[in-house]
């Protein structure tokens, strides 16, 4: 992993797994909810991301279960993934804090009376 910011699909996936392990479709629903309907991850894209995050050791398969006669995997955040997500959250928080500080300190430009000289 590099110290570059995470791309949004990765950030959303790690965030979706931060509180509890989830299966594939559960992740799609959770990402939809976290992004407030803005990001609708499709099955192939989700699977590509899961393959990569598994290979990078950021997530792990917690268990496999059979539901309605079909096997499905339940994914969980690995320790490395938790650290990466925490670092990203810290980076984003610093940006948000700075934005709020600057917005709070912003003063509207004073309107100059007509005819006044600079």
């Amino acid at each position: 992993m590099t110290d570059r910011p995470l791309q949004e699909p990765t950030l959303l996936l790690l965030t979706a797994l931060a509180d509890e392990p989830r299966h594939g479709y559960g992740l799609i629903q959770e990402i939809d909810a976290i992004s407030q309907g803005r990001v609708r991850m499709r099955t192939g894209t989700l699977y590509g991301a899961l393959d990569r995050l598994l290979q990078q050791g950021l997530i792990q398969v917690e268990r496999e279960e059979i539901v309605d006669g079909r096997a499905r995997k339940v994914y969980a955040l690995a320790e490395a993934g938790r650290s990466v997500l925490a670092a990203e959250a810290e980076r984003l928080r610093a940006v948000v804090d700075e934005a709020e500080r600057r917005l709070a300190g912003h003063r509207a430009p004073a309107t100059r009376p007509k005819g006044a000289l600079a």
Binding site: T2, R4, P5, Q7, E8, P9, T10, L13, G24, Y25, I28, M41, R42, T43, G44, T45, L46, Y47, G48, A49, D51, R52, L54, Q55, Q56, V67, D68, G69, R70, A71, R72, K73
Partner: protein, 304 residues
């Protein structure tokens, strides 16, 4: 949830995966697809199957986001879009330049080619706007008409009997270059594409580079040699590729991305120097081959 039979589209999409991968993950992919498309219309089910098919093709070709090639493509895709937009603007400027216009709007094919030259920059600008704002689905959807528009030039130019662009090399480039660009943008793994400040910086930098290189080509085009003749400035894109190849390291994905992104424009500007072979062409080819040895030697040393 009740188990459904996979649709024909989904069966085809699954067949595109390597057999071992399909055996291990096919059931789960089918289950997720079924849940994701429950109650959805035919178009939505097809889009979902298309996404699974794209994932299968990436698995087969080693272009998944878990592979280095896929990660390099993700770096290259936004830069390739910036270069394609620059290229389309350049084509338009070239057409408007004095003494170069060879397509008077006196027949329907000519009018269609000229219209295409005006529409292409607008389409590519829309693609770039999508990339800039992270709307990759829209951006990639727009790449298809932008590419088709460029490909339409080939039959139209054959009908126009244009002297400058009607030669076989030019025709082949009119097919290969847009297809290469589209391949780079469409093959990049979706889960690695987003919008970040570093990506926007890279896109802006590539655009600035394109302005410099094409600006130099444009400025010198009419001064030293007759139009169509080989020029030093035509080797500039090969030089950019050479520098990117020299900087290509595992910890520098941007350099690798730039090397892949400039490939279409290198082909476009260098092939005419090689067919027929000119001293400029020989120099450009040698430069690229020598610099390509650097990442190969580095990789070999790493594996040794």
């Amino acid at each position: 949830m009740t188990q459904r039979h996979p649709s024909r589209a989904l069966r085809w999409a699954l067949r595109l995966h390597p057999a071992a991968y399909r055996a291990e993950h096919g059931a789960e992919l089918t289950a997720i697809h079924d849940q994701a498309t429950q109650g959805a219309g035919r178009a939505e089910r097809l889009r979902e199957a298309f996404d699974i098919a794209a994932h299968g093709l990436r698995q087969r070709t080693g272009l998944g986001s878990d592979r280095t090639a896929g990660q390099i493509l993700a770096q290259a895709a936004p830069l390739a879009v910036a270069l394609a937009m620059g290229g389309s603007v350049m084509n338009l400027l070239w057409l408007l330049a004095p003494d170069v216009r060879t397509l008077p709007p006196d027949s329907l094919p000519n009018v269609l080619v000229l219209t295409g030259q005006f529409v292409a920059p607008l389409l590519w600008f829309a693609v770039l706007a999508g990339v800039w704002t992270g709307r990759w689905a829209a951006a990639r959807a727009l790449v298809v008409p932008a590419t088709l528009l460029r490909l339409c030039d080939v039959p139209l130019l054959l009908l126009t009997h244009s002297g400058v662009r009607g030669d076989h090399t030019g025709m082949a480039l009119n097919v290969v270059v847009p297809l290469l660009t589209a391949a780079v943008v469409l093959a990049a793994p979706r889960d690695l594409l987003g919008s970040s400040s570093s990506q926007r910086t890279a896109v802006a930098g590539t655009t600035a580079l394109a302005v410099l290189v094409w600006g130099a080509q444009f400025a010198t085009a009419f001064q030293y040699l007759p139009p169509g003749g080989p020029r030093t400035t035509h080797t500039l894109w090969a030089a950019v590729l050479a520098v990117a190849l020299l900087c290509w390291r595992r910890d520098r994905p941007a350099a690798a991305g730039l090397a892949v992104a400039v490939l279409p424009v290198v082909v476009q500007s260098t092939v005419p120097l090689l067919l027929p072979l000119s001293a400029f062409g020989e120099g450009a080819l040698l430069m690229v081959l020598l610099s390509a040895a650097a990442p190969l030697l580095r990789a070999r040393r790493r594996h040794a």
